[in-house]
Subunit: 435 residues, 2 copies
């Protein structure tokens, strides 16, 4: 009998105790402790359209596709689903077709890497781009914690480009790039969510999109475009092209999530990385990402890929079409949330919120600090959960903001949740009227 | 129109052009170019027992388990399969029970992290353990390329502990630890496959297992035990306990793969990491791995987990029972391969091979270099593929060895493949009889 090992935290990688990684944990843990609370916290898709029978049907649809469209015999179909598979994935052609249909993005399927969710895609891109000690990534902030966390695992510094009240300003990006360079660092890419950003809800207008592409070329950086919410516009029409759709110089690495447009449980996302790599063994950046992927997850589960593939096939290859019902749910919910905020808070001094034209998130500003203690209090005494914006940015503004997600609630839950939030806010305004 | 970006290889992470990562690519690429060749190369499980109908049945079995054993209502079952889930996984209790039943390992399910294959588990452990610049991992070599590759992605040096002709010698480990320390490096763990190792086929005897646990405690390192092949013993009885089953001091992080015992397409593996972590926020090492996982893959697909969970449930929770047919196939194949080698090569000077008592792999030594060019030649002119051992180790012995995997072939294919290999070897012996 030997005495049991006791590992010291200092002997584990520093990222594991980083606020970015602890945040996610803390937020999940709070949500787990108060399962009865109405939660405006998670960016989950609606559950109203899920049905276990779908899984069986999608699987069969994909197996039929392999047999009928690809001409695979039974042994090959079985092998495709059960065995190890192509590192870059097996639904790359379906994804390329979907991007063409829904986004007007024309891309060689070979430039697509199918990943274990968009998170793996982000991690792989950051891994590839961190080559030198002084490499950094820029991120529009407040930023999705998954970007920050992935960078932490790689000891890759994240330099923030703070959003203005209406989102990213191109001149702020230029200033930041120059300041970063002046400090001896090399900015490799700018991470951003151009449509209905998480957490801020902001979208970029068309002129800003074009300007960002120019800046990327002038300053020799890449744009790391994350697009989980682009299909969830609150009103018909007027969807703006993604950066990738406008990208004539391969400045954009486009990361897609199928968590919101198919379902999170598949854990399927992808990167479009059509950049050429010079030098020996050069090819597409996608092939570099693939090599890294082979040493992290080997390949994305072909059964998971078959499920999203089957879902795509059922809807003529289009995610917009596959998401007609969810899009209607999100419109209904965002409308309900924004009207509910208006009704309850428009007369309250110091309380304001933005009005995104789509997506899952609205940010509310209050005249008192939104701390983790406040969140606990909201859960215990009011039965309502949200996300303190300080988990996404450490600026003074974020410290008094909370993010509300309305994507997976019913309208009744949204109304009750807002009533509870209203009680909480009223209480704090009484306690510190001029805070 | 801007001119397209051209990335320079030197501006991408150095691991992406590392031999360990290029090896895997090269080997897959050769296999892809010669689909008609008989391939002794991949460590794939047998396909004889796969059936697409199984996937539907496993999924239903798991959904039934959630409803009947866990008491989940329909909404909760749907949520469990479709939504984001617990980072450490949802089949941890089934895995804990399986380890108890099949291995005599008693472990708190909370100490298990379900991962996207064993590869992600290896990566996470290495990520957690690389805390300081001088940290290194030790590996019994020739080593599985997935370990080396995962380490490369982390800039973590791998220091090899070469196997003797009969496998790892404990005194070599002690020598190596001391040499590494003398060079100013800190060894964190020793990676090893105690049963039917990939690529060498070696197994550790019981005395060596006990001795390694003592050394780990004395030298304050962890043992990173990878166990993909342990159930595939060629003769009944006599299975030795895993290191984890003997581990009274939490010196062993046990990594399990369900790729061989369930199926690779699920991409489900796990780590048992029951080590305590001291310091603020301390808990189990599993929770540290979980935090890292949340920033790489978020969680392992719950549908994939449901498939392996359903398979376990169908066999009373035991992988040994679930694998009765595959085990019989592997026994038949290994027997066929070893007898075939004996019949063809026992009279050839300088040709020898080991005789593992289970697993997927046999290593053949020949009196000429086994290069990638030889592999190409074997594919083109003889229609047979294998893996040059130089992909797993850079020593002089490996340079003249090839690995034969017999796991997913039929006995007819094994016989024909050996005939082809025999032609190749005879040709080279004639060309360089005393090489």
């Amino acid at each position: 009998m030997t005495s049991p090992v006791l590992l010291d935290r200092a002997d584990l990688h520093v990222s594991l105790a980083d606020p970015a990684l602890l945040s996610m944990n803390f937020l999940n843990e709070v949500a787990g402790r108060y399962p009865e609370a109405i939660s405006f916290a998670p960016g989950r898709p609606t559950e109203e359209t899920f049905d276990v029978a779908d899984l069986h049907r999608y699987l069969d649809a994909y197996a039929r596709h392999l047999a009928e469209d690809k001409g695979y015999d039974e042994v090959r179909v079985r092998r495709e689903l059960f065995q190890y598979g192509r590192t870059k994935g097996i639904v790359h052609e379906l994804i390329a077709r979907q991007l063409e249909l829904d986004e007007g993005i024309t891309v060689d399927p070979e430039a697509i890497v199918v990943t274990v969710g968009a998170q793996e895609a982000l991690w792989l891109v950051l891994r590839a781009l961190k080559a030198a000690e002084n490499d950094v990534v820029l991120a529009v902030t407040p930023a999705y914690v998954g970007l920050t966390g992935a960078a932490r695992l790689l000891d890759l510094p994240v330099r923030s480009v703070p959003e203005g009240p209406h989102g990213l300003r191109p001149e702020d990006l230029i200033d930041r790039i120059r300041a970063v360079r002046a400090a001896g660092e090399r900015p490799r890419a700018l991470y951003l969510v151009p449509d209905f950003s998480n957490p801020s809800g902001h979208s970029l207008d068309l002129a800003t999109r074009h300007r960002l592409l120019e800046i990327a070329a002038e300053e020799d950086i890449l744009l790391l475009e994350d697009n989980p919410y682009g299909y969830f516009r609150a009103a018909d029409g007027g969807r703006l092209p993604t950066l990738k759709a406008l990208d004539t110089g391969q400045r954009v690495v486009h990361v897609g999530s199928l968590a919101k447009t198919c379902f999170p449980g598949a854990r399927v996302g992808f990167a479009v990385a059509d950049q050429q790599v010079a030098g020996p063994g050069g090819g597409l950046l996608a092939d570099e990402l693939s090599r890294a992927k082979s040493m992290v997850t080997v390949n994305t589960s072909p059964v998971s890929q078959a499920l999203v593939g089957g879902m795509l096939l059922e809807h003529g290859g289009s995610l917009l079409r596959a998401n007609e019902r969810p899009i209607a749910v999100y419109r209904r919910n965002l409308d309900c949330l924004l009207k509910g905020l208006q009704r309850r808070f428009s007369a309250l001094p110091g309380v304001s919120w933005n009005t995104p034209s789509g997506g899952f998130f609205v940010v509310v500003t209050v005249p008192f600090p939104v701390t983790d203690a406040l969140l606990e209090d909201a859960a215990v005494r009011h039965g309502v959960l949200f996300t303190p914006m300080r988990h996404f940015g450490d600026d003074a503004r974020s410290a008094r903001q909370l993010r509300l997600s309305c994507s997976y609630l019913t309208t009744d839950q949204i109304e009750s949740g807002l009533d509870r939030l209203s009680d909480l806010i009223a209480e704090h305004l009484r306690a510190a009227p001029d805070a």
